[in-house]
């Protein structure tokens, strides 16, 4: 009975357009952010930061970007890894080529570069759609993989094709410890999630969704497909690019093109679909599922094995990990094809009706 909108009346459209129309939701999310910003740094250890939380945050951000394109605008892409790479390499180049370039600006410029390429690779979407487009975006992926490996200029002529960044310095704040890195990423994620949410509840977001749901009808009511699609590509690539810069600069520190391979693109698409297409929250769920679950399984299975007294070989565990991971994907999609976020909202809906079933 706690989770109800009872007694919460809205007296203006503004109030009704809020991100969280139910007060409990709002407090819950604000609390969560506060906890993430204050509580987590006190509680987590280095392993948690470096191996779980930072990748989770950065990939959530990337998934968020992909979700804007795939979930909101309906343009399935398998080239997200490439845009992460563009973001990372562009930011790297801004850093090494321009003296005194501030870190954050370089990252944002990385995003801008990714957005530019996003528009370029988005042009086929004006004609090609659906799965055809999805596969076609792989062209971007493989082209970028190749270019960053082959064209020395991008990597400042590093002989191996691998680049690395020096100290991270955001306006005097030396980001060094894992907790600081975590907070740095968290700040990005919170700000971008808010911006993304704003976009999706504004007219541009509705235009994207209209194009996604029925493009001819969208055009008939005056939406320009070119503008809607390309803006989705641009915004999505921008976010993904910034995430790529974070991945390279903050998480890896030093990377080669393989860090943004086609596997990464698939992984991001996974997150979006598992988490819930067209849901900001879903991106986080999806990232959590894909990042945390394998790690969890990897550590949990041997423990489980030891409980029942069998020592499973590492190979056995990783095969089991494959099987369980795959099965869980299938399981969750059967339970709720619209992703974890939908599952979450159904749960809330039930809670609202509770204790009555309907």
């Amino acid at each position: 009975m706690i989770y109800r909108e009872n007694g919460q009346f809205k007296t203006s459209y503004l109030a009704d357009q809020q991100i969280f129309t139910i007060a409990q939701d709002k407090w819950f999310v604000l609390g969560l952010i506060a906890f993430a910003a204050i509580g987590v740094p006190l509680l987590a250890d280095e392993y948690l930061f470096r191996a779980v939380l930072i990748p989770f945050l950065v990939l959530s951000l990337a998934a968020l970007g992909v979700n804007l394109l795939v979930g909101y605008c309906g343009q399935i892409t398998l080239g997200a890894g490439a845009f992460m790479a563009i973001g990372a390499y562009a930011a790297y180049n801004f850093m090494v080529r321009i003296d005194g370039m501030p870190l954050i600006l370089a990252m944002l410029l990385g995003g801008v570069a990714a957005a530019g390429f996003g528009i370029l690779f988005g042009i086929p979407s004006l004609r090609v759609r659906g799965l055809y487009l999805a596969v076609a975006t792989l062209a971007a992926q493989f082209l970028c993989d190749w270019a960053f490996l082959r064209i020395g200029w991008f990597t400042n002529n590093s002989s191996s094709g691998s680049v690395s960044v020096a100290k991270l310095d955001a306006f005097g704040w030396i980001i060094d410890s894992p907790a600081e890195k975590y907070l740095f990423c968290l700040a990005f994620v919170v700000v971008f999630a808010l911006l993304a949410k704003n976009l999706t509840r504004a007219t541009i977001g509705r235009q994207w969704m209209a194009i996604r749901d029925m493009d001819v009808a969208a055009e008939v009511i005056g939406i320009r497909p070119m503008y809607a699609k390309l803006s989705a590509f641009a915004v999505s690539s921008f976010v993904v690019g910034v995430a790529g810069a974070l991945w390279g600069f903050v998480h890896l520190g030093s990377w080669e093109p393989a860090a943004f391979s086609v596997d990464r693109s698939f992984q991001l698409l996974f997150m979006v679909i598992i988490g819930g297409m067209g849901s900001i929250m879903g991106s986080f769920f999806g990232a959590a599922f894909i990042v945390v679950l394998p790690i969890f399984l990897n550590q949990f299975l041997p423990f489980l094995g030891s409980l029942v007294g069998v020592t499973v070989s590492t190979a056995g565990i990783s095969h089991a990990e494959f099987i369980i991971f795959g099965s869980l994907i299938i399981f969750f999609l059967i339970v709720e094809p619209h992703g974890l976020a939908r599952l979450w909202s159904i749960a809330k809906q039930k809670l609202r009706l509770w204790p009555f079933p309907h």
């Binding site: 159904i346 039930k350 309907h358």
Partner: protein
């Protein structure tokens, strides 16, 4: 009405929930006698389509399920059957909104209708000819992909496709929708014809109450997931409320659409 268990089709007090949370049918019971035409009437969202889906077991694809009650066809419980099993037993649904196979030609669409038939090629060809006779328009468009035919042509295709299965019970969901008046009459003539000659039974959800009651033997009126009224077709068409709200006839006969000046609150049997 006879005792339900002797019925050809009987729906007993079913409850349907979509998506685990949306309760749509709240205890619906109805029955269809062999060889009869039964009309299911009701406003938008009353639950007609849902009822038909529950009978033909097509709810799953919509993430709906029958949570209470039972559906029996010829004394057999059907809930556990697949739609294909039902088609084999002669229960075919014509879905609302046409649902033609867009990439298949009209003729291929019709032929898929005969998928479950085992009575040989010649018999299928014969039915195909019959359908073409019913709908000459389809014959002229036989080689077009269904997606490129007009709305009405698709509707005819959907009906024809169901007939190809040589059904015993047809669940018709809004057959008249989008059809020209002449064709509507024709469709119902076909219904009558099949009913009379081949003893095919029909359960039809229809908005065109006037026509529906003219051809039906028996009718149910649904509202808000419940059956609120039932009776022989002639009885219903003489009922004052039905006349006013479903046939648009008031005391002094049919009123011009232009003259109805006020939005009227609907008659609600329940509220």
């Amino acid at each position: 009405m006879n005792a339900p268990n002797s019925a050809f089709l009987s729906v007993n007090n079913i409850e349907v929930i979509y998506n685990h949370v949306i309760l749509v049918l709240k205890g619906v019971s109805l029955s269809v006698q062999e060889g009869s035409i039964v009309a299911l009437l009701g406003g938008n969202g009353a639950g007609k389509t849902t009822t038909l889906r529950a009978v033909s077991n097509l709810l799953k694809g919509e993430r709906g399920e029958v949570t209470k009650g039972s559906v029996e066809y010829k004394g057999e419980r059907v809930e556990a059957m697949t739609p294909a099993d039902l088609v084999k037993r002669g229960v075919v649904q014509v879905m609302e909104g046409r649902h033609c196979f867009g990439h298949l030609t009209i003729e291929e669409n019709l032929r898929t209708g005969a998928y479950t038939r085992t009575d040989g090629k010649a018999a299928v060809e014969e039915t195909l000819e019959k359908v073409y006779n019913y709908f000459p328009r389809l014959k002229t468009r036989r080689n077009s992909q269904a997606a490129y035919t007009s709305g009405g042509e698709q509707q005819m295709c959907a009906i024809g496709r169901a007939l190809m299965a040589k059904p015993r019970l047809v669940l018709l969901d809004e057959p008249s929708m989008g059809l020209a008046p002449l064709i509507v009459e024709e469709v119902f003539e076909i219904v009558k014809d099949l009913n009379a000659k081949e003893k095919v039974s029909f359960l039809l959800a229809e908005q065109n109450t006037m026509v529906a009651l003219r051809y039906a033997d028996f009718g149910y009126i649904m509202e808000n997931g419940r059956i609120v009224m039932e009776g022989a077709a002639s009885e219903l068409s003489n009922n004052e409320d039905v006349k006013e709200f479903y046939l648009g006839l008031s005391g002094e006969g049919r009123k011009s659409f232009r003259e109805i000046k006020h939005y009227r609150r609907r008659k609600r049997w329940l509220s």
